[in-house]
Symmetry: C2
Subunit: 181 residues, 2 copies
């Protein structure tokens, strides 16, 4: 394994999928590493309530990390057929991602839980693929969430499936501060 | 999913295993979140050269994060039978972990790539399980690396397997600064 040299950076399309823990958390670890390299990083969240106190607080130490949009454009997790307003929210949130992706102002952009919107049909895969095809060469993009569509996996450079082997909720242990939020 | 209440914290034993990316990176994301909660965190590395510029630089922003030991006790990845000096190094590095685990001074301790030492027989699983059985109630411990032994999975609260679906080296793309180091 060699490191990138003076050659132009090859920005990666990275997908973290699967039913286990660690999809968003691994993205957050990559953000941490990238911030340490002085990268400009944005993270856009598709699921309402996804921001947790721990990462918000830690993120404040890094002026080169933006967590917008904070107050709008989030989806709620729910059952049943997607409602038109859910689709509109997903499209709006993707527009926030796309504007950042195409701005060429960032080194790393995380589209957190976008796979949820794709797999529930709230957002056409073609919309996402079209933007990714036009991304700046240097930009890394991480797309997280369960059930990443095959076309996205096809377009990606690095795909990891996080599989749940054992989960504490199975044993009645509650979510732990500082670990899960 | 409910959050922990005023009840005593239930420190988790967390295992990140599998052949994919994201085992250490997800641990780093959890560290980031925990630091934001004001937790005291230590990360002990079993593989030489595991520290990368990105996380070292980001870690400096958090006085409650310790990365020791930095200069000794590391294993080299290699083929063949474990040499006695490799076993001694693994035992010494575990002793560093165990001292921190049993000190009751930390909220989260990451034993990074310890599963490598376990699966290669450099360190007895019983040694690790014995320490974990005596850990402070409030302490979370994350153990990363491929091929986590069954007894460790049995003792853990949360186990995730990171599976490689697609990797950029397959396409001849080099390791990228800020993403992988």
């Amino acid at each position: 394994m060699t490191e990138e040299s003076g050659s132009k950076r090859h920005g990666l399309i990275i997908v973290n999928t699967g039913n286990g823990k660690g999809k968003t958390t691994a993205a957050l670890g990559t953000v941490f590493r990238a911030l340490g390299q002085g990268f400009k990083v944005a993270m856009v969240q598709f699921i309402k309530g996804g921001w947790r106190y721990g990462e918000l607080n830690a993120a404040e130490k890094f002026p080169n990390f933006s967590l917008e949009p904070m107050g709008h454009g989030f989806l709620k997790l729910g059952d049943g057929e997607p409602a038109p307003e859910d689709c509109a929210l997903a499209e709006k949130t993707w527009a926030e991602c796309a504007a950042r992706i195409l701005s060429d102002e960032y080194d790393l952009i995380v589209c957190d839980e976008v796979n949820y919107a794709l797999s529930y049909g709230l957002l056409p895969v073609s919309t996402v693929l079209d933007t990714l095809a036009r991304k700046p060469q240097r930009l890394h993009v991480i797309l997280t969430g369960r059930n990443a569509p095959g076309e996205l996996i096809e377009a990606a450079d690095l795909v990891t499936e996080m599989r749940e082997i054992k989960h504490p909720y199975q044993q009645g242990i509650k979510a732990q501060r500082g670990i899960e939020f």
